[in-house]
Symmetry: C2
Subunit: 436 residues, 2 copies
């Protein structure tokens, strides 16, 4: 029996594992977390709209009936290409075929010191940390008597105008205008200043310009100040420095959220070192048309870690749907080879030509708030309430577990009609004293 090892239980890895459900191979899925995370909704956890468990499905649960598959909680730290083994921080796993789907992480363009003051949003822990920061900022403002410091506590700067930045900014707009409106006595939360900073000349640069304009208008409707063509040149414990053209401005703030830079998982560098993989400038592995690493047809790379440029000349975007389609492709490729081997013996399979991976773009969408979203569906461009309904429907459809789907829907319905965000808990050790 062949051993297929999948590193990473995100959209790519989990799709691959599920698509192997009837394979004769033994499948091992390795992840650092015991759950699959529905990352597109992570901003909802960060802003208190949903609970972590609403968007996380235990991997063992999802794969429990798939008897050829085992789940392993572990972290891959190296790959022994010669002996076909993945080295974990606490053990090792042999493989015949390896599917690497470890995704991406945020990066600060060399300013690693900024991370302490400008957390990014990639994990559940990131989300509850940001949630804590946001709601603690309002709590501290309520008790602050110094006017300048009060202003800084009520100033929120989101760096990066991609989907995550837009969604965070929109949610913050709603929190300050609606959710917390009657909750405080000393401050008016609606006076919070929410800045969305983007280096390019418009937000959502991967969308058609018309939808970017629509998104900016909807954000402004929620009280968000959109600052395009603006770079962040410094982040400190009490301010960010913005540069736009010649003009430089220091904005005092206690809350900076980072949604700007993405780099590939560190496993890319290991693949470069051990399997001579070529990396692009954000550390993604440049893969063959069949998603393999050149010279290593038993090693496939999928999802955010892969740079697949054979279709359009440009790398495919780091989207869930790309990763999922690549996962299914990788699983089919593995099964095809397996069947060939069984039919013709090991020698025969080498001549087989496999169709290259082909991505089918089903459209993109980003939400801005209640009733507000933009969608670009194969040429059909929608903004506002209809886009929001489509967004809602698609996202619910793709959440892995039926249970989560139901509960998320109800939670949203309730949030929608009550303007509430019930999951706005400030958790974590030693929340006090406040940083007055």
């Amino acid at each position: 029996m062949q051993q297929v090892v999948i590193l990473g239980g995100g959209f790519g890895g989990l799709s691959a594992a599920r698509a192997l459900h009837s394979a004769k191979d033994e499948v091992t899925l390795v992840d650092r977390c015991n759950y699959h995370l529905f990352q597109p909704l992570l901003y909802q956890v960060a802003t208190g709209g949903l609970s972590p468990a609403n968007i996380a499905a235990p991997l063992r649960r999802v794969l429990r009936r798939q008897k050829n598959t085992k789940v392993l909680l572990g972290e891959a730290i190296d790959i022994d290409v010669t002996n076909h083994r993945v080295i974990l921080s606490d053990g090792e796993v042999p493989y015949d075929t390896l599917i690497v789907a470890t995704g991406s992480q945020h990066q600060y363009f060399g300013h690693t010191g900024w991370e302490a003051y400008a957390p990014g949003l990639k994990t559940i822990e990131d989300a509850t940390h940001i949630r804590r920061q946001i709601f603690l900022a309002f709590e501290t403002a309520e008790r602050e008597t110094n006017k300048d410091r009060l202003r800084a506590w009520l100033t929120f700067v989101i760096v990066g105008g991609g989907p995550t930045g837009v969604e965070l900014a929109g949610a913050l707009g709603e929190i300050s205008k609606d959710t917390l409106r009657h909750d405080f006595r000393s401050i008016d939360t609606a006076e919070a200043k929410i800045l969305l900073v983007e280096g390019a000349d418009r937000v959502l640069t991967t969308y058609p310009p018309g939808l970017s304009t629509a998104a900016e208008r909807m954000l402004e409707g929620l009280g968000v100040i959109v600052r395009t063509s603006t770079m962040v040149t410094e982040v400190t414990v009490e301010s960010v420095t913005l540069q736009s053209g010649e003009r430089s401005e220091v904005v005092p703030t206690q809350t900076v959220l980072w949604a700007a830079g993405i780099q590939a998982s560190p496993l890319g560098r290991i693949l470069k070192e051990k399997a001579e993989a070529a990396l692009d400038q954000v550390g993604r592995v440049i893969v063959e048309p069949d998603l393999s690493i050149p010279g290593h047809r038993d090693m496939l790379v999928i999802g955010d870690l892969a740079n697949f440029s054979h279709q359009t000349g440009k790398p495919l975007p780091g989207l869930a749907q790309v990763a999922m389609q690549q996962g299914v492709y990788a699983a089919r490729l593995v099964q095809r080879r397996m069947e060939d081997r069984l039919e013709r013996g090991a020698a025969g399979e080498r001549g087989k030509v496999v169709k290259p991976f082909h991505y089918v773009d089903k459209g993109n969408m980003a939400t801005i708030g209640r009733k507000a979203a933009v969608a670009d569906l194969r040429g059909l461009r929608v903004a506002g309430f209809p886009a929001w309904l489509i967004w809602l429907f698609i996202h619910l459809l793709y959440i892995v577990e039926f249970e989560s789907r139901l509960l998320v829907m109800l939670q949203w319905a309730w949030n929608y009609f009550s303007f509430n965000r019930a999951a706005r808990l400030i958790t974590g050790k030693s929340p006090l004293p406040l940083d007055l």
Copy 2:
């Protein structure tokens, strides 16, 4: 306008605050957390059945329409009795009447070193920590090759046979027998050994003996080994030592949960020092029939921090319903005095005699698992499925927010029919490497 300050947003403090909704006083509720916690269901969070936000209601949300009341996120560290001020870790609050409702915390009977190996269950952070420990134990067992260590990872010891201990043990029984049954490949989770250790000769000692026996039988049906008349004499990183009569036994285990000892909040000692309050042996403040501290009629103590022995000669138990009734009584007392003062002037009120607090016991219940519970309702004793239904109904009824009630009900319905626990996320920093 009089200033009423309430310390603690638990069952006692929040009841007092809500009962003061139409008072002419200014009310300030101080809590270290930004939410009210429905503690009776905390064990459900610790065992992955519910999410933290399901059992926590943001205090500001609950009190948002109560215009005479403000919420203050802060920690009381001292009381200046002479100048009528509560000293916070980062500020102070003046009061005319002070209601202290800061509850209790777990204690290790002098063995403070045990806390590191045997976490207790009082806060959301405790619950997610325990959840992490439980599910990480199964994950580690799945990868463990040494037979003795494997056994230790699959051994769970719960210390204390009160309601929390019984509920935790029952939930662990279900997790190992039902929830995880199909999830692992190398281990049989049903072989997990779950020990419930109680010093007295039966569990649930505050219930009639017949219900204790019923509870023990139901626990055994879930595979829990109940060890009564047994003391814990040592807890280390890899074992607990049990003493029963002359016999001493070392049980190797990686998971010990502490549900044994309760002591009053440290504010009791401050009240002793500053207001000459008398404390009982677990640190509770011995209060007057009107819940005040002797000699300080402007200082009331309610809930788990109060020792009220005027009704039965024994202190009332540390239950939510006691705290809630005391909260309402305290609020009425404050309002009555206020009205007297307005009618007759400050001099007149001193003669007024107020009826002492009187607790109405509406019954007690503890759950053991799916369809299993015991209930003692004013003489009516119920065990098994009917008790479980009553338990479910009453608990849903008392959850503060309607939204939570609905979502908890749905989550439970789903858990019930699917045998799932969707919130079994292992969260927290650096979960890996596993402790193999």
